[in-house]
Structures are given as C-alpha cells and as structure tokens.
C-alpha cells in the first residue's frame, strides 16, 4: 500500500458512519420479520484491525518509558501514522471531473460521494443493498454505491444525480419526474432517476410491465410507482435521450 501525504489534511479525516438508514425501514422488505428494529447496528468504525494492533503495540512501548500526559500525545501521533498506512490512493472521474483521493479500503462509494466529496444527491436509504436509493452509474451501468467499495472504482467514470443536468437545464428524465409527479418525499428519487435512465439504456423500458420489473430494485415507500413508470415511459417514447 502506498503512503499518501495528503492523508493528514482535514478533508480526509472526516469519515464517520452516517446511520440514517433507519429512516427507511426497508430492511423489512427483503429480510425476514426478525430482522427488524432489534437488529444490531453494524460495528462503528473503531480504528480497524491493523490500526488497532499498531496502536496497541507502539503505545504499549511508549507507555513503559513515558509519563501519562505524553502517552495521550503519543497515541494521537500513532493514530495519524496508522492512517497513513491504511489509506489508499484512488483516482476516478465523477461527473466529468477527475479526482485524486485517498481513502480507507472500507469506505463505500456512497460514503465517499456523500462524506468526502459532499455530493449528497445520492441517498443512503438502507445501506445494505435493499432499497436502490444509492443507485449511481459506473462506466454507464447502474450499480448500488452502498455495496461498492470505493477502491474498487479505481480509474472508472462515475455519474451521480448531480451530473445529469446541463447548467440550469434538467435532464429529460428529471423533467419527466417533475411533470408526472414521480415522487412524494423525494428521498428515493435520485436513485429512481439514475435507475430509470439505465433502464431505457438497457432496452428494458418498452412496456409498463417491463419498466415495473426492471425498476424493482428501487423501492419507493410513498408508493409513487405509477407516476415513476409514466415518467420513464414518456422519456423512452420520446426517443430515449439518455
């Protein structure tokens, strides 16, 4: 693994779990009844195995020879050195802009977009691949960014909802969602739009039944489905400029 000097800069130190997944209890929808509210939350990032062992070992040595106040500082220092070793350089293109980044391997593409690059248009619904709210395009194909490790997108082209409009002009799919009222709360909408565009691109939007089946990976708790289907149908019939 390469050491990247930028690991010390403030912008790369702000990872944290964003546990808004519970807003949508979509876990209900695919998993069994027991996997609901009482399910334990995923482990909070606690520094990771290698960092943990690094700090334990190095701080223990320091603790033997120093006073308590210095130990705290030493642990701080260790933490930062450990991060140097645990981050990886990552080069990718997002919405036409090249990014040279430094990320921990455990960071998902979704968290990279939202937490490190402030591209918060892509939503975190369930965070477990069950709702489709985090749908983005990688090299033109729709995928779930919550189950994609950012390091696996090295050299790839990512398109998010922020990359669709041209200046003030909305993408035809965005316009169609507005026209057909394809939303209520709007939380699933970025994922629906990204998926809808891909659905046409794949050739799976020729009938309403087709659209329904090939949009089944995008859950809308408000139940705006008929209007979402109408929006996609209209863009497809208009020649599918996607």
């Amino acid at each position: 693994m390469l050491i990247n000097g930028s690991a010390f800069s403030a912008d790369v130190l702000q990872f944290g779990p964003v546990c808004i997944g519970t807003i949508f209890s979509v876990n209900f929808l695919l998993f069994y009844p027991t996997m609901s509210m009482d399910q334990p939350k995923p482990h909070a990032p606690d520094g990771g195995c290698s960092r943990r062992s690094f700090i334990q070992q190095s701080s223990a040595v320091i603790a033997l020879v120093t006073t308590p106040s210095i130990i705290t500082k030493a642990a701080d220092h260790d933490e930062r050195i450990a991060e140097l070793f645990e981050k990886m350089p990552l080069s990718l293109e997002i919405n036409g802009v090249r990014h040279e980044l430094s990320v921990e391997p455990r960071v998902t593409l979704l968290d990279l977009l939202r937490e490190q690059l402030q591209l918060t248009g892509t939503k975190k619904g369930c965070d477990y691949g069950q709702c489709g709210a985090c749908t983005v395009h990688v090299n033109g194909e729709r995928i779930l960014s919550c189950l994609t490790l950012a390091v696996k997108t090295e050299g790839k082209k990512i398109t998010t909802i922020e990359g669709l409009a041209t200046g003030d002009k909305l993408h035809p799919m965005q316009q169609a969602f507005v026209k057909h009222d394809g939303l209520q709360c709007g939380y699933c909408t970025p994922g629906q739009i990204m998926s809808g565009i891909a659905c046409i691109r794949e050739g799976h939007a020729n009938t309403r039944q087709d659209i329904q089946e090939y949009m089944s990976g995008n859950i809308c708790r408000c139940g705006a489905y008929p209007n979402i289907i109408s929006a996609i149908e209209e863009v497809q019939k208009a020649g599918g400029i996607v």
């Binding site: 995923p42 990032p45 994609t148 490790l149």
Partner: protein
C-alpha cells in the same frame, strides 16, 4: 465496518497464493453479499483480495457446451442473446434474482459463493451454528418461515438463496476450481448439506478459487421454465422456486430435469421425480404424481409448514409451463 487491507490480484495463481499466505483473507468479486456481511459484522476479514481483474471474463459458446468465466456478471449471462436461445433456463433464473443494479455487480462465481439470508445468521446477537459453530440454531424453534424442508440437520435449517444455482443444478454443470492445481467437480457436489458442519457452505478447500463453469449442451430447447414464488412480485428471495426442463418426443417425456430453490441448504435436485417422469406422457396428471414423488422426505419446522403444500403445486406449475400445456 472493521477496516482491512485491500489488494488487487492480477493472476489466478497470485490470487490463490495471497489467500494461502494470509490467515484471515477473503476474495472479493462483486461484493454484493460480502460487503453487506462485513457491514453487519458477520464477516470480518483482515485482507480482501480483489479478483475482478482476473482474466475470467470469457463466455465461450461451443456446440458441445457453454463455458462461463467466474468473473462474468449476472447481467452479462442473463442478457446474452445466444444464452437466451440455447440455455434459456439459466437466463430465466438469473433474471428472477436480485435487481438490475445487483446483477450488474454480482458475478457467476460470487453467486455460487453467496451465503444464506437466514435472519439468525445475519444477526450477530443470535445463536447460529453456521456463523459461530456450537452456539445452536435460532431458527429451529424460531422464525423459520423461509427455511428448509429438505436435507436439514439439527445444526442448521438455512436455505441457499441463489436462483442461478437452481438452474445450474438442473443442467449438467461442472465447476472449474483452481488451487495448487486445477480440478473439476460436478455442480451438484459443489454445495453441501449442513450436517454437523453448517459453517461449510461448499466443498472448496482453503486456497481454492472458482475460475468458471461449464454447462453441457442439452436438448430441452424451449421446454424449460423457472418459477419463483416470493412475497413480492419481484426483488425478493424465493419462498420456493422450481427449475424445470423437459425433452419431449411425441408427447412423451424423454428426459426431465427438476431442481428447487428455497427448500434446502443447497440447490435441491429432484432426481427421483425425474426418473418417475421418464417415458411418461407430458400431462398434468403425470406432473402431479411426480410432485408427490418429489416431496418424499420433506419435513417442516413450524412456520414453513406451508412450503409442504406450496412446493408440489409449484412443481406441477413449472412442469406444465415447461411442457407448454
């Protein structure tokens, strides 16, 4: 998610070597199941070896059969026009699984390696012999609506969640495995029944990697059907699924293939029912009798009692659809 180190493997040999060197390393391909499990703390590898760049992306279409590299995505297989015509059962089963986004990510090898979606396996606060051997089976006397009716043991009543694998079980599939040397095993010997070691889903040895599958040419033509019964009309795991393939001549069945999903720890091939159907007329009555044969030995655990009634009906329906009657 607990942090880990990440390495990209460029050759099959180096991937296998890397895995053997590390005590707690795992291969990652599409990651659709592994990343999910890591977020929940069910899987906690120290190192991930990314195998998506390995040269295992080929689909080789031959008159004698079909080879699919382990890193081919589920979408690539499901949408391949030649596979749709020559191996429609495989295409149908893949299209019934997951969502387009997940199928774009998931690979053929990864699909075979996916773990059960048993809620006790996923919940680290619950007992589960598969996740933590010796802790017991929470599902046995718990919520077991989704669970097995065939081949379960006192240790585990979980089911294998794949649709693709049900089709592969019904067809003559061989799994190609690379370890220190290459070996090939019949698909039906790849996955395991739980027995006393439910922690082992399959017969891969440490340091072995699935490099591809081969499916022999068949004569089922369009006489195939994949029926998936689930709680929603799409994007849900099977309560019961049936892969049916028939070779019919003069209204009589020359060969039949039947496999079920959602009913056992592995894709469940129904060889006795197949034998029963051989030489019989392709009628609903034959299919009903075959379904009775197929259900021999089925056992429920309470909440999944309905599967004892649902499964035979699904078999009759799938066979009828395959026979186009």
């Amino acid at each position: 998610m607990i942090n880990f180190t990440y390495t990209k493997a460029s050759t099959t040999n180096s991937a296998v070597d890397l895995l053997l060197k590390e005590k707690n390393a795992k291969f990652i391909a599409g990651g659709t199941n592994l990343v999910d499990l890591m977020k929940r703390g069910v899987e906690t590898p120290d190192r991930l070896i990314d195998i998506t760049n390995l040269p295992l992306h080929n689909i080789d279409k031959k008159e004698t059969g079909l080879y699919i590299g382990a890193m081919v995505t589920n979408t690539q297989v499901a949408e391949d026009p030649w596979i749709k015509i020559n191996y429609p059962l495989l295409s149908l089963a893949l299209q019934a699984g997951a969502s387009p986004q997940l199928r774009n990510m998931a690979t053929v090898g990864g699909n075979m390696m996916q773990r059960t979606r048993c809620s006790y396996f996923y919940d680290t606060a619950m007992p589960c012999n598969k996740r933590e051997p010796g802790t017991g089976c929470g599902a046995m006397n718990g919520y077991n609506r989704m669970h097995a009716i065939f081949g379960a043991s006192d240790s585990c009543i979980a089911v294998h969640p794949s649709d693709m694998c049900v089709a592969l079980a019904a067809l003559d599939t061989t799994v190609i495995i690379q370890g220190k040397k290459e070996r090939r095993i019949p698909f039906l010997d790849f996955h395991r029944l739980p027995g006393n070691t439910p922690e082992k889903d399959n017969n891969l040895a440490k340091g072995e990697l699935i490099t591809g599958i081969e499916i022999a040419r068949n004569h089922f033509g369009g006489h195939v059907h994949y029926l998936k019964i689930r709680d929603r009309s799409s994007y849900a795991f099977a309560l019961v699924s049936v892969a049916a393939a028939l070779e019919i001549s003069n209204d009589s069945i020359v060969h039949a293939r039947l496999a079920m999903g959602g009913v056992a720890h592995k894709p469940w091939r129904l060889t006795e029912a197949e034998k029963f159907l051989q030489g019989k007329k392709a009628t609903v009555d034959s299919f009903r009798e075959a379904a009775i044969v197929a259900m021999n030995g089925a056992k429920d655990y309470g909440q999944n009692h309905f599967k004892l009634k649902l499964a035979p009906v699904a078999i009759v329906e799938a066979l009828s659809q395959a026979a186009k009657i």
